[in-house]
């Protein structure tokens, strides 16, 4: 049991120490971004990885949080933090309304439905003046107090996101070890079989969807507070869902730390390749980025974390064999 906690503890130590080892403002911001996307990707993981329902329109929940946060400031002069619970409520409501008719659709149809919902809402927001239409909503440009969560340094964001990520992962962990997690695994394996054994499949999937929506909206709210601005493209654009999905898939969907690994690879990759190549205007950033994603998809579709796990297991195997031999008292050389 203690052995199993070594890796998470080590990870936590690394994450806590990161902003002090990589201490320039840009590096700290990069770290904060990795954590932010890890929150979003881990939230997606609940329904996309564990429940096996690939939602490509998850950005709609992200947008709920972002718009609620900015709306609280833009329309009521309140701290964006007050908008956060409103965003959660909106996200969960949408998940419930959309989830009931949509979750019973199989694989590809479900994904298409989520795309349609996300695009529909994005278009509605683009044409709604109250929500900023195409211009978007801005947050406080000069923070009035600490609750405006508008900091110059990335350090407070980093630790705030770390706490939220820890909560997200803890909730995911708790869920997978609960009855709900048990049902989800059964449903993911074979929904029909699970149903015939009495699993309330529709309800379970809906709960997973709603939980995922709530957490994703938190990520959206945090994003809006850090950047101080949201518009239909940056808050409800399909590209955001695809990015989150890819991070989870690249790191390892259905694994607790998969999305974090994916975010830790893709976010710096994108920002650093942009910093090195972006200014030239030849689009090379995305050629590199695309090529790397293709290679990983082709050769490691289970995700990087699966690869790491396999490597670790392989190293552990000879040791296990050695211990076995010693235990049985064998005398010949290994």
């Amino acid at each position: 049991m203690m052995r199993r906690l070594i890796w998470p503890a080590l990870l936590l130590a690394i994450l806590l120490a990161y902003p002090f080892v990589f201490a320039t403002p840009f590096q700290q911001r990069l770290g904060a971004l990795v954590l932010l996307y890890a929150i979003a990707a881990s939230s997606w993981n609940i329904v996309g990885g564990y429940a096996g329902q690939v939602s490509v329109g998850h950005v709609v929940f992200f947008g709920c949080g972002a718009y609620a946060a900015m709306g609280a400031y833009a329309h009521f002069g309140l701290s964006p933090l007050i908008g956060l619970p409103a965003g959660i409520v909106a996200a969960v409501a949408i998940a419930a309304i959309v989830g009931v008719p949509t979750l019973r659709l199989s694989g590809h149809y479900f994904s298409m439905a989520t795309i349609a919902v996300a695009e529909l809402i994005r278009l509605v927001v683009t044409n709604t003046d109250y929500l900023g239409a195409a211009v978007g909503l801005s947050g406080p440009t000069v923070p009035r107090n600490v609750f405006d969560l508008s900091f110059i340094s990335a350090l407070p964001y980093y630790y705030l996101f770390l706490i939220v990520l820890a909560i997200t992962l803890l909730m995911t962990w708790w869920m997978t070890h609960s009855r709900m997690g048990f049902y989800l695994r059964a449903i993911k394996d074979s929904e029909r079989a699970a149903r015939s054994l009495g699993a309330p499949a529709a309800r379970i999937k809906l709960y997973a969807f709603m939980l995922s929506a709530a957490l994703t909206s938190v990520a959206g709210a945090l994003y809006a507070m850090m950047f101080g601005f949201v518009d239909p493209d940056s808050g409800l654009g399909l590209l955001i869902s695809v990015k989150i999905l890819i991070m989870a898939a690249l790191g390892g969907a259905g694994l607790l730390f998969g999305p974090l690994v994916g975010a830790a690879i893709l976010v710096p990759l994108e920002e650093i390749s942009n910093s090195l190549l972006g200014g030239k205007g030849a689009g090379l950033t995305f050629v590199v980025y695309g090529a790397i994603i293709v290679l990983i998809a082709r050769f490691q579709p289970g995700g990087i974390l699966t690869l790491i796990k396999r490597l670790l297991e392989r190293r552990a195997k000879p040791r296990a064999k050695e211990e076995q031999r010693l235990a049985t008292g064998a005398t010949h050389a290994p």
Binding site: L105, A113, L123, L238, G283, V287, G290, V294, L295
Partner: protein
């Protein structure tokens, strides 16, 4: 019915035929191989650029541009199949999304790197002019694309249902192991299917280039349209893609005229969602 309304509907049908044209390739691979191809829009884009290159080098229009684009894209389809698709086909949908999205970026920005970001277009008179039938004004380029869409749809449908090759492809799609036992090589069939689909998409791109703008990022918008068309029509149904495309085109055109263009996509998505909820297999898909 007011005359302008007729013009709107006709315009919608032509637009829809174009949608059907570049979606037929997607429904083929989606239905046959269960592949979600996020790079589909970028295949259309490549077809457009192929037509542009032919025009720039030889000064010829779609007569040469279309066959060239079709063959080029078919070849690319085979390459992509063996290099990437075969590996991710059997994998989870996530791996397919991951892989094809990466491919989309790779294709899009390789074209961007080579051709630059500027908007290109073929000269207006390449398939020139506007034809007037009983007062209805129809752009010749769009009419050509519309007619070709019908021909391609018919051709693909006949290929799948009436030819030996087609039944082999369908057999592999239905049950690859059983097909193998009957002496059909699944790999070859799937590569052929992919080549045909890519070729059809390249053809579509080359035709669209005669009246639409050419830019590396055009694949983003067109990709989503293709996805909606294919889901509405039913994954794997080529006639379904045609009907769905026409329907979407007309709805877009009508709502654009009656309600306002900014709402047309909302109407389409709302209708699409209702359809998904009441008839998920689409207009003509299998249950």
């Amino acid at each position: 019915m007011s005359f302008i309304l007729v013009q709107v509907i006709v315009g919608g049908l032509l637009l829809g035929a174009v949608y059907a044209l570049f979606s037929s390739g997607l429904t083929l691979v989606w239905g046959m191989m269960n592949i979600v191809n996020f790079a589909h829009g970028d295949f259309v884009m490549l077809g457009m650029y192929a037509a542009f290159v032919v025009f720039t080098l030889f000064g010829v229009g779609p007569l040469a541009g279309v066959p060239f684009a079709t063959l080029l894209l078919a070849a690319l389809g085979v390459v992509v199949y063996f290099a990437l698709i075969r590996g991710i086909m059997k994998g989870p949908m996530l791996a397919q999304i991951l892989g094809t999205f990466g491919l989309a970026l790779l294709l899009r920005y390789s074209v961007f790197w080579w051709f630059g970001a500027d908007f290109l277009s073929l000269p207006q008179n390449i398939v020139g002019g506007t034809l007037v039938f009983w007062g209805l004004r129809i752009e010749a380029a769009r009419l050509l694309a519309g007619i070709v869409a019908l021909v391609v749809t018919l051709g693909l449908h006949l290929l799948l249902t009436r030819t030996a090759l087609g039944s082999k492809m369908l057999a592999v799609a239905e049950d690859a192991t059983a097909a193998q036992l009957m002496g059909i090589r699944p790999d070859t069939m799937q590569a052929i299917a992919w080549a045909i689909a890519a070729g059809a998409t390249g053809l579509a791109g080359a035709l669209i280039a005669t009246f639409f703008y050419i830019v590396p990022t055009v694949g983003e918008t067109l990709g989503i349209v293709a996805f909606v068309t294919v889901s509405l029509g039913g994954f794997g149904s080529v006639p379904g893609a045609l009907v769905a495309g026409l329907l979407i085109g007309v709805i877009e055109s009508l709502s654009g005229y009656l309600i306002g263009a900014v709402y047309k996509d909302i109407v389409v998505y709302a209708l699409f969602l209702s359809f998904l909820w009441f008839r998920p297999q689409g207009l003509m898909g299998k249950t």
